[in-house]
């Protein structure tokens, strides 16, 4: 291997430095995202129909943690701890789950367009959740809706995965068309449930479907917490192997990745995360698409940063979006899902155009 390293056109190997450009970016971004969250959480807790000064917010949190601080008056305490905080925590959990699920899904499918909403996994999970609400199922208590959303989501990911792959890769056209079919079928099932549900359930489902966090309560937080924490905790363990999967299935196997096991585990994780998001907040689209894309542009495609980074940025985006949703038209409240779709679909469109210009479309 000690060949005369005579390169053509006079470029010596010394000239090319390793890509240092990206090395520091992930740390900077992580620090920036955490800082932004630290700022935005008290702001979100402050903002609303009954404003609580940021100083009071911090004092109340300190008091509850036993770190000094003072207790606020009863209204302020109640607004903070029964309305604002569960909603903020829920927004963070749902956003982190959606962002991370999007990054995972794109990695597993080897396709930058895969996203729980686009390929129908969210609607699949929604069928489970709607079924639970419409039929008044309650066999697992608080967790019933999450559990059914998880099972239905899992079935849908598996279905889409099997249907859209051929020869070890997923073609974009097949993926999108499969998504259309799955979305249509899930829509039909949801329609059926609505048709047979009673009025109260219909109201509940309709509201839930718009994608809103306004019904946030601590029991709801508790219902999604296990799914989200488990999913978010397991995902980064597979980051290196997802990087290798970008080479294709066979080359990944040649590098020692047990591809079948990787696939099974990650499909489970995707279903967990999607279920966590969908079961509380309906279908909130495009977060899982936009967030990983932005991070990939800024810090490169390595999954060791992309997976936790997507969770952080997803949490930040959803918290900001929810804050906007409940303030821009106050006292009325915009549905969160409507807002993210309003901002996310143009991005999706731009992505399509850009890729077409660059590569003459997808095969």
């Amino acid at each position: 291997m000690s060949l005369p390293a005579k390169t053509p056109s006079g470029t010596s190997p010394r000239e090319a430095a390793p890509p240092a450009r990206r090395r520091g970016v992930p740390w900077l971004l992580t620090a920036g995202l955490v800082a932004a969250l630290v700022v935005l959480v008290p702001v979100a807790a402050h903002t609303g129909a009954y404003p609580v000064p940021v100083g009071d917010v911090i004092a109340s949190v300190q008091h509850r943690l036993g770190l000094g601080g003072t207790e606020l008056d009863r209204v302020a305490e109640s607004v903070l701890w029964n309305v604002r905080f569960p909603r903020i925590v829920l927004a963070l959990l749902v956003g982190a789950s959606l962002g991370c699920a999007g990054a995972l899904m794109q990695g597993v499918f080897g396709n930058p367009l895969a996203e729980p909403g686009v390929i129908g996994v969210s609607s699949g999970a929604a069928v489970g959740a709607v079924g639970a609400i419409a039929l008044g199922l309650n066999f697992a208590g608080n967790w019933t809706v999450s559990l059914l959303a998880f099972v239905a989501g899992l079935v849908t990911v598996l279905l889409v995965y099997v249907m859209s792959r051929s020869g070890g890769r997923t073609e974009v056209v097949t993926l999108i068309l499969t998504g259309i079919a799955v979305n249509a079928f899930a829509g039909a099932l949801i329609g059926l449930f609505l048709f047979f549900a009673d009025t109260a359930a219909v109201n509940q489902i309709t509201f839930w479907q718009l994608g809103s966090l306004s019904q946030a309560t601590w029991p709801k937080v508790l219902a999604v917490l296990p799914c989200a924490v488990l999913g978010l905790g397991v995902a980064p363990l597979y980051a290196r192997r997802l990087d290798l999967l970008a080479l294709g299935e066979r080359p990944a196997r040649h590098l020692g990745v047990d591809v079948e096991r990787l696939r099974i585990v990650l499909v489970l994780v995707i279903a967990l995360l999607t279920a966590a998001a969908v079961s509380v907040s309906g279908i909130i689209g495009f977060v899982g698409l936009v967030v990983p894309h932005l991070l990939r542009m800024a810090a490169g495609p390595g999954h060791r940063f992309l997976l936790p980074g997507s969770a952080l940025l997803g949490a930040l985006v959803l918290l900001a979006a929810d804050l906007a949703a409940r303030t821009v038209a106050s006292p009325a409240e915009l549905p969160l899902g409507v807002l993210t779709a309003l901002l996310g679909s143009p991005f999706f469109f731009w992505l399509l155009r850009r890729t077409r210009r660059r590569h003459g479309g997808w095969a």
């Binding site: 291997m1 390169t7 190997p13 290196r240 080479l247 590098l255 020692g256 390595g302």
Partner: protein
């Protein structure tokens, strides 16, 4: 995290002449078609073996079977002395590296990141020579100059060299390369086969699928000529590259003439002027 994963055993040192991969009475069925019918091939440490033959003769399938990608329907494949199916994926990754016919990449990783992926099998063993292996592989394949560029922005030939650099960085004692010269210009074809030859001299076993019989004759220690899923002939190229055998295997009249200076076999199709 490293504690949770069992460490794969590193490969035992090989001595020249050890059989690192062997097919014994290998039959492979893909779909409804028998692609290989009873193939016996062995490659030893220190040897460069070229697989040649017409399109569809089963060269890539044989390489895939030696890589433990394709399961035999009958017969056996042994890698480093053990049946291929007895090895786990991480163990195999320390023992054989595979260059696929074409390389794709789903996300825009840089060239250096792609080459570094070749070191992944060693991650559990905490090697100290990661950086050296990556730098050496990139220098040997002349891709250092575009280390920072995204893989997707490269030309076909450049991609092929980056893929080869990744395979070399893996530092496995058995190298299986499927048409490593297909997309390359004259200079880099020679470079790649010189590299293969050097790896063989350093004690590795190298199997290369080739279409250029001149390259095979010039660089391979041994050649296996495949025809319709069988080995039609195997041995040193100067012995088996005869006009009658090659004309028959390729169904195309060829002449084999010695190079005027070196005496190496030159294989040319018969052309009317």
């Amino acid at each position: 995290m490293r504690l949770l994963r069992s460490r794969p055993a590193p490969p035992a040192p090989v001595s020249p002449g050890d059989v690192l991969a062997a097919a014994e009475g290998l039959r492979v069925r893909l779909g409804a078609r028998d692609v290989l019918h009873g193939v016996d091939v062995a490659v030893r440490a220190g040897e460069l073996l070229a697989l040649v033959g017409p399109n569809g003769a089963g060269k890539s399938t044989l390489l895939g079977a030696l890589a433990a990608d394709v399961a035999p329907s009958d017969g056996a494949v042994r890698i480093h002395g053990r049946p291929a199916s007895d090895w786990s994926a991480p163990e195999l990754a320390l023992r054989r590296a595979v260059l696929p016919q074409s390389s794709t990449l789903s996300f825009p990783f840089s060239v250096e990141e792609v080459v570094r992926m070749g070191r992944a099998p060693w991650a559990a063993l905490d090697p100290e020579d990661d950086e050296a292996a990556v730098a050496e592989a990139m220098a040997a394949t002349e891709v250092t100059a575009f280390a920072a560029r995204p893989f997707s922005a490269l030309s076909g030939g450049e991609r092929a060299r980056v893929a080869l650099a990744r395979v070399l960085a893996q530092r496995a004692p058995l190298l299986l390369l499927d048409e490593p010269t297909a997309a390359l210009d004259l200079r880099h074809q020679e470079l790649v086969l010189r590299l293969c030859r050097e790896r063989a001299r350093a004690g590795d076993a190298v199997v290369v699928v080739l279409h250029d019989l001149g390259l095979a004759a010039a660089y391979a220690h041994r050649v296996a000529v495949l025809r319709a899923g069988r080995v039609a002939a195997a041995g040193p190229p100067q012995e088996i590259f005869t006009e009658s055998l090659l004309s028959e295997v390729y169904d195309q009249p060829v002449e084999v003439v010695p190079h005027p200076r070196t005496g190496a076999a030159l294989v040319l199709p018969v052309r009317e002027r």
